[in-house]
């Protein structure tokens, strides 16, 4: 395959308080089989060789499961294509000479740390507010004691597949976290193990989400379009139902 070259416009921001701006770079000799992040590695390698500060970005597993990637590429979180994280993008999907704008995931609740690195600890805060079943180690009955039908188990898995990357938030004009919260609430509302805390969980998680500065859902489904695990907005509907149900039950 022929090598290509691309022009990059990359968000550079020295620290959380500093002003940021887009900076232009050219990357030559890009092999189409390179992943997008490997292309950034090559750029960084060149910067390091010249003694310049490299572009900071989060990345770890590079196989689409850890949720570290947080790049908005040409305005789309994780770039174009469905069901992919940034690390699963390949340069074969870009044209020779193309200009590519690379920015961090943007949301009020995800402040920039440096360059393309953002702080998503607000998600951990939401999880601490109820994204669990309160069962201590050692207190569990036999795994087969409660039968769970395959259809329920599969649906719970679909919800549990969320990798917590925050693309849903970055894609939403309101920076809402409904898909993230909805996925966890749905998983635990479907499974019998989650039922004892069902109401308390959804109220606390939603309240914490609002306090963290995430916005409201206005049903435009940008979140679903960019979700690398293709989690459906049906989980948002379920979240709203669970929330209303909990309010009624607790009132």
């Amino acid at each position: 395959m022929n090598e290509i070259s691309v022009k990059l416009r990359v968000w550079r921001q020295a620290s959380a308080d500093a002003e940021g701006k887009l900076q232009d770079y050219k990357v030559e000799n890009v092999v189409p089989d390179m992943s997008f992040l490997e292309m950034l590695d090559v750029l960084n390698e060149g910067l390091a060789r010249r003694g310049e500060d490299v572009i900071a970005f989060d990345s770890d597993c590079r196989e689409g499961i850890c949720g570290c990637c947080s790049l908005t590429i040409n305005g789309v979180p994780h770039g174009r294509g469905t069901g992919k994280t940034t690390c699963q993008l390949y340069m074969r999907d870009f044209a020779d000479g193309e200009t590519i704008t690379v920015e961090p995931f943007r949301a009020k609740a995800f402040p920039v740390v440096k360059d393309l690195v953002v702080d998503r600890s607000a998600f951990d805060g939401i999880m601490a507010a109820g994204g669990y079943v309160s069962v201590n180690t050692g207190a569990a009955p036999d795994g087969n004691q409660i039968a769970i039908g395959k259809d329920i188990a599969d649906k719970a898995f679909d919800a549990a597949a969320c990798i917590g990357c925050g693309a849903c938030v970055a894609a939403c004009k309101n920076a809402a976290a409904f898909l993230f919260v909805g996925a966890k609430v749905t998983q635990l509302a479907l499974l019998p193990q989650g039922h004892p805390e069902r109401e308390r969980r959804v109220i606390r998680m939603v309240d914490t989400m609002e306090e963290a500065g995430f916005g409201n859902c206005t049903n435009e489904a940008e979140c679903e379009a960019v979700c690398p695990k293709e989690i459906s907005t049906a989980h948002i509907t379920k979240l709203n139902r669970e929330y209303a149900r909990a309010l009624l039950k607790l009132s």
Binding site: V31, D33, S35, E38, D41, E45, A48, R49, G51, V54, D58, D60, C61, R62, E63, G64, I65, C66, G67, C68, K84, Q88, Y90, V113, K114, V117, R120, S121, F123, D124, M127, A128, A129, G131, Y132, V133, N136, T137, G138, A140, P141, D142, G143, N144, A147, G149, K150, I152, A153, D154, A156, F157, A160, A161, I163, G164, Q187, L191, Q193, G194
Partner: protein, 637 residues
């Protein structure tokens, strides 16, 4: 020195139960007075931190990443073993124990493995109770599948994302304790030194990766749960941040490093495509349940896979190992892939690949059934290889995946430094010279949920610990030594980047300490590693500042540690003049190319003591005894 694993006596199947009765306890009201540091928040770390928090200890959990949920356990695909015998196919605790000891080619500690098999059943129960959505049958019962090295179905799974679901379960339990106030998370922190005061592990020095500040934390015990060192090889299936530094820093403080040459090279990974490659991607071993491995019979057969008729294909695993077929253990599968590629029969552009073919399974079960089982893996393959594996066979090749070696620990998971416990992949104890599939998740969670809560109490209940603050000289000394290292690296300002050095180190290790090893090339590797290490100190270029988020510098410190560690790894491979499991010394093989162990001379754990940068490490041996698993030539034929 002969090491004592402090294994309790008596019949193996009641050893752990009896020992639990004998161990000391810490009263619930006293637990909050003890501070525990947990470094790493993968399966071992998160499960330990959550469980200890639930018990009432004061826990500080550290992760190099921005959230505990991203730790690399998340990437484990295939499953987790447990001796539930839900399939009524003859499984038992003893059989899981035996398979694991045999799978590890008789180089694991028998008692630890038996305990692992015992608690495996509790792990599944715990995870189900947390809401982990394991695969279920239509009747609502938990489903199982088979994995390599076993003739029973004992692997529980959640599609191809079992590690993710188990980690999210442990992470959820952890966040519950954060909410309860028993655990505090320190994210984006890298442990750069262990603090040993009056002979006991009492704290750590970390670098805050956001602002570069050095931070000191004091505790009554330190739990190291920082995973393996596969990234010493540069290319591996490990995540970019997985590294040896935390473990190596403990080794430099006196902790023994055991069996470092036991490195698992996983047979089914997507082959290397070019020099730009930053990591390799695993295709789960579970695929070998339905995929058949083959290469053309003739080296000059360059037809596309689909045009090669049955009679011109060599299903070499099925041919050589009729009893286990495509489900032979990983070390055997990897070595055989290397052999057929060395014979010139490899496929793909580079000739370093074999086929993993699903045609028969798709014909037998239908494409939908295969999609249901492996959908995400097939999609992942297609993303990377740009080829549809439903239509053409996958091309796969072995890659560095897991490290059985790790810090030496006794039966209590405590290293030779009192107060330093090592859990999960970071220790050496359970997998011997080869780990079976679906056993890493089992071990991480066994250590964290069901072993450390008992053994840590036993230590804290009996240890006489002085009051200590972070003002103590031992903290100042540790912090100064870290700062000095950082300043020294930044000052070199040489001509070659950190990555160039890392890549070169990885190439040496892969070529000479990879799937096949021999004495003369191991000696060459040792010389080359030393030379490279010296050049690194003179000629590396690290840009940026120390008081800033600086990835170059983070990696530079890790590569510096890999260089030192690699010398110990090669020394271990040289010392072990036998073949066992993953450690294939060409000098020691049977007529048909299988491993030839030397139990008389090498039935020991090699625990190495670091003696200084230019000194030879000192070998300490722990003799292995097999009283309950019959030792024999390992055969899967």
């Amino acid at each position: 020195m002969i090491l004592d694993g402090k294994v309790p006596s008596g019949p193996i199947d009641s050893r752990w139960d009896r020992h639990k009765r004998d161990m000391l306890l810490v009263n619930p009201a006293n637990r909050r007075k003890f501070n525990v540091i947990v470094v790493g928040t993968g399966l071992a770390g998160a499960s330990a931190a959550a469980s200890l928090g639930e018990m009432g200890y004061n826990v500080k959990a550290f992760t190099i990443l921005d959230s505990p949920r991203r730790s690399h356990s998340i990437a484990a695909q295939g499953g987790i073993n447990a001796a539930k015998n839900y399939k009524n196919d003859g499984d038992s605790v003893y059989r899981l124990f035996y398979d694991t000891v045999k799978g590890g080619d008789y180089r694991a500690r028998e008692s630890n493995v038996h305990r692992l098999a015992e608690v495996s059943v509790d792990i599944i129960d715990q995870c189900v109770a947390q809401g982990v959505p394991f695969a279920r049958e239509y009747g609502g019962m938990l489903d199982n599948r088979s994995f390599g090295g076993a003739q029973v179905s004992r692997t529980f799974y959640a599609r191809g994302q079992t590690g993710q679901q188990l980690l999210l379960g442990a992470y959820s339990a952890l966040m519950r304790q954060v909410d309860a106030g028993t655990v505090k998370i320190f994210a984006r922190r890298e442990m750069l030194d262990l603090v040993v005061a009056n002979g006991k592990a009492r704290g750590i020095v970390c670098r805050n990766l956001v602002n570069g500040k050095m931070e000191r934390y004091v505790a009554d015990a330190v739990l190291l749960c920082t995973g393996g060192y596969g990234n010493a090889y540069y290319l591996s299936t490990n995540a970019g941040n997985s590294n040896v530094t935390a473990a190596w820093r403990c080794a430099r403080r006196g902790a023994y490093f055991a069996n470092p040459c036991f490195v698992q090279i996983h047979p089914t990974c997507i082959p290397v495509s070019g020099s730009h490659q930053s990591k390799l991607t695993l295709m789960s071993e579970s695929l070998r349940n339905d995929g058949r491995v083959w290469v053309p019979k003739n080296a000059d057969d360059k037809r596309p896979a689909n045009e090669i008729p049955e009679e011109d294909r060599d299903y070499y695993l099925e041919r050589r190992y009729p009893a286990f077929g495509n489900l032979v253990p990983r070390d055997v599968a990897s070595r055989n892939a290397k052999v057929v590629c060395d014979e010139g029969r490899g496929v793909g552009a580079t000739g370093r690949a074999v086929y993993l073919d699903f045609t028969d399974a798709i014909e037998r079960l239908g494409e939908d059934a295969i999609r249901d089982r492996y959908g995400n893996l097939f999609a992942m393959y297609e993303h990377i290889a740009d080829e549809d594996p439903y239509k053409a066979p996958m091309r796969i090749y072995p890659a560095v995946h897991y490290t059985m070696g790790g810090l030496w620990v006794d039966y209590h998971l405590m290293s030779n430094i009192p107060g330093l416990f090592v859990l999960g992949e970071a220790n050496f104890s359970d997998h011997g010279a080869n780990r079976l599939g679906a056993s890493a998740l089992m071990q991480g969670l066994a250590d964290g949920y069901f072993v450390i809560p008992y053994t840590l109490a036993n230590y804290l209940g009996g240890a006489k610990l002085d009051a200590l603050s972070t003002d103590h000289d031992s903290f100042a000394e540790a912090q100064n030594s870290v700062s000095e290292r950082i300043n020294k690296l930044l000052a070199v300002n040489g001509a070659r980047t950190v990555t160039e050095f890392h890549r070169e180190l990885g190439q040496i290790l892969w070529d000479k300490v990879g799937m096949s090893r021999k004495q003369d090339t191991l000696h060459e590797a040792l010389d080359e590693v030393r030379k490279l290490r010296d050049e690194y100190a003179q000629n590396v270029k690290v840009v940026g500042r120390s008081d800033d988020l600086n990835r170059q510098m983070e990696v530079a410190l890790r590569v510096d540690d890999y260089m030192e560690f690699a010398e110990m790894l090669v020394s271990d491979a040289l010392d072990r003049d036998e073949s066992c499991g993953c450690h294939f010394r060409e000098e020691h093989q049977t007529d048909d190319g299988e491993c030839m162990r030397n139990d008389e001379r090498y039935s020991y754990v090699a625990a190495w003591e670091f003696k200084g940068r230019n000194a030879k490490p000192e070998l300490h041996k722990e003799q292995l005894e097999f009283k309950f698993a019959e030792v024999k030539q390992r055969s899967y034929k």
